[in-house]
């Protein structure tokens, strides 16, 4: 009797991608790409500059990074306050634990890395050392959702789902430079732990054109409309605002409700807007359609008995491709054109 042979190593479910003809039109997206390709006014390093400014008056603010200060704009703070910056090295677990220890001693630590590394690698340390003890650590993470073409290792398409499930954690997805500046100030004052998605580098200024003020736990109506209600967060609010303009040219009137706080969700405002009726409700997020803003909104409506035709714009529940960001955004349907086209289709259904 011989042992059965070990099967060959091809027994996995997925196969390699089919090779396509090279596309010379798009340059490869740099991992550190900022979103200045939107062709708008921009503000430089809104997070880093705001934090450096806050720290002038707040001796309790300290910064820590796991070898990504330059790529999370924390280097601006580090240059302004070198003695208050801790380079923790490429060690995300101790980044979070040490931030917890500093918070225990009365400091307000801002810990930065990429969203994938905080959400996936350091989860237990955020959960047990920070959230379970309700310590005021601010975890600020770059490369949210699909903002890099580097592939799944760097694309945090499920960070909101992961973080939303953590008790006691406030979860934020700001839209632009204005939102980032205001949210940075707000979380510095907030007593509990926070996870904030970070836009770095040259960050578009969009909300400066609106009568808008960021508040933790509040969704804000940026514009009203009668046919469609967009409920969006993060960079998708820039896109829903532009899609609303494009749709208006075709006679479709869209409201845009910006919900930068994913948790605690502003259920009252969302229900009030959705209950108005007669509008297609479209949740839009730079995140997997699983477990993020869209599902949070859907659950909120269901639990309150608000019935609406509901659709989601977001990233598919799969590991995404590598490539240039504009190509990928079009491929996954989160460009302004794709949003407008989806809405038109849904309105005809």
């Amino acid at each position: 009797m011989s042992e059965p042979p070990i099967p060959p190593n091809s027994r996995r479910l997925s196969k390699f991608k089919a090779r396509k003809a090279p596309n010379q039109k798009q340059a490869t997206s740099a991992m550190i790409a900022s979103l200045d390709s939107e062709g708008r006014d921009t503000i430089t390093a809104p997070f880093g500059n705001t934090l450096a400014e806050l720290a002038e008056h707040r001796a309790d603010i300290v910064g820590l990074s796991a070898d990504l200060s330059k790529y999370t704009d924390l280097h601006v703070f580090a240059q302004a306050h070198p003695d208050r910056f801790y380079q923790m090295g490429m060690a995300e677990q101790v980044l979070m634990s040490a931030a917890a220890g500093l918070a225990r001693e009365g400091f307000t630590p801002f810990a930065t890395t990429y969203a994938v590394f905080a959400a996936r690698r350091a989860y237990d340390f955020i959960c047990m050392a920070i959230a379970e003890e309700a310590l005021p650590v601010k975890i600020c993470c770059a490369l949210p959702g699909l903002t890099t073409g580097y592939g799944p290792s760097h694309q945090a398409t499920e960070d909101l789902a992961i973080m939303r499930a953590m008790p006691g954690l406030t979860v934020l997805d700001p839209c632009d430079a204005i939102d980032t500046q205001q949210a940075t100030r707000a979380i510095a004052d907030h007593l509990g732990p926070v996870y904030m998605r970070l836009l770095r580098g040259q960050v578009p200024n969009v909300l400066g054109d609106y009568d808008y003020a960021f508040e933790i736990g509040k969704a804000k109506l940026l514009q009203d409309g009668t046919d469609v209600l967009f409920i969006s967060s993060g960079i998708m609010t820039m896109r829903t605002l532009d899609a609303a303009k494009a749709l208006a040219r075709d006679g479709v009137s869209c409201a845009v409700l910006h919900s930068p706080t994913i948790k605690p969700l502003d259920k009252a405002t969302i229900l009030k807007q959705a209950a108005k009726g007669g509008r297609l409700v479209v949740a839009a997020e730079n995140h997997s359609v699983t477990g993020g803003l869209g599902e949070a909104v859907a659950a909120c409506l269901m639990q309150d008995g608000v019935t609406a035709t509901f659709r989601q714009i977001g990233l598919p529940d799969e590991f995404l491709d590598a490539g240039a960001l504009p190509t990928l955004h079009a491929q996954y349907g989160i460009t302004v054109d794709a949003i407008a086209a989806s809405v038109k289709t849904w309105l005809k259904e």
């Binding site: 060690a91 677990q93 040490a98 220890g101 500093l102 918070a103 225990r104 001693e105 340390f125 047990m128």
Partner: protein, 283 residues
């Protein structure tokens, strides 16, 4: 505050403290028929040395800013720390009978929100030393001369996060951090030295830039010398005391049990253990 500091006791008194810690732990274990008594008996001497020789604290003000911090990362050692906190007067002795009960301030696994003197929530292993790194940084920023002690287990040496913290403490020159490793060579599935903790522990920590001492963790004279050396060492580096201990120390019939991570003790054996313990009360 008159209770501001520890009183430097003789080794005889420390022996008495360690004896009392073991007795508190045996009584708590009897309440629940609890199996982590082995760790409590093994760690009683290093806890006695921490709380009655090395550390500065105020029993009536467990959050006093000037206290030395004691971080227990091994949540299941809670029974041992409760015993020490009771002996130190931080927890009242009459709460022993609530150990592990609903609504008790003394849950089976140590949690900061439940118990005065339990500084951190342990249990998920490999967390304590990293938190201690941040606290030690914070104390330095505040020019607070207190020490941070972290009691970790040999099993935690298998967690990668422990070594992130080891490197970090050395990198940041945290001379106010004292790690105490309870090396009893037992973890859930068997011997720690047959899992990941191989070779000379003191050599490994030294290689990472720590001032390392390796001692018999059930020898009070050795413990006192090591804690003194750790506190008084002059190089700007973190310190570790690797304490080789015997699980169930002091109760011979339990010491001999083969599997001691979670000791099976029959109901009638608690009385026998207490009788043996009480017969060995030091002066």
């Amino acid at each position: 505050m008159t209770q501001a500091t520890n009183t430097r006791l003789s080794n005889t008194s420390l022996a008495r403290r360690a004896w009392a810690i073991r007795r508190h732990a045996l009584l708590m274990a009897q309440v629940q028929g609890q199996g982590y008594i082995g760790q409590a008996l093994g760690a009683a001497d290093l806890l006695a040395t921490s709380y009655f020789h090395a550390m500065t604290y105020r029993a009536d003000d467990p959050e006093w800013e000037g206290r030395d911090r004691f971080y227990l990362s091994i949540g299941h050692y809670a029974i041992a720390l409760y015993a020490a906190l009771i002996e130190a007067g931080i927890l009242p002795e009459d709460e022993i009978e609530t150990y592990g009960m609903d609504e008790s301030r003394m849950p089976m696994s140590g949690m900061a929100a439940y118990t005065p003197g339990m500084e951190i929530t342990g249990g998920s292993l490999g967390h304590g030393l990293g938190i201690a790194v941040g606290a030690a940084m914070g104390l330095k920023r505040k020019a607070n001369p207190a020490f941070v002690y972290n009691l970790l287990s040999d099993g935690e040496l298998g967690e990668g996060s422990t070594w992130e913290a080891v490197m970090s403490a050395a990198q940041h020159g945290l001379d106010n951090l004292i790690a105490i490793v309870d090396f009893n060579d037992q973890q859930a599935d068997g011997k720690t030295t047959q899992a990941l903790a191989r070779g000379s522990q003191s050599a490994q920590w030294q290689a990472f830039g720590w001032f390392a001492q390796e001692i018999d963790g059930n020898d009070l004279d050795a413990l006192v010398s090591a804690f003194d050396a750790a506190r008084n060492h002059r190089a700007p580096c973190p310190r570790v005391i690797i304490c080789n201990t015997t699980m169930c120390k002091g109760i011979p019939f339990l010491e001999e049990r083969e599997i001691t991570h979670f000791v099976r003790v029959e109901a009638d054996e608690w009385t026998k253990a207490l009788a043996i313990h009480d017969a060995n009360k030091p002066e």
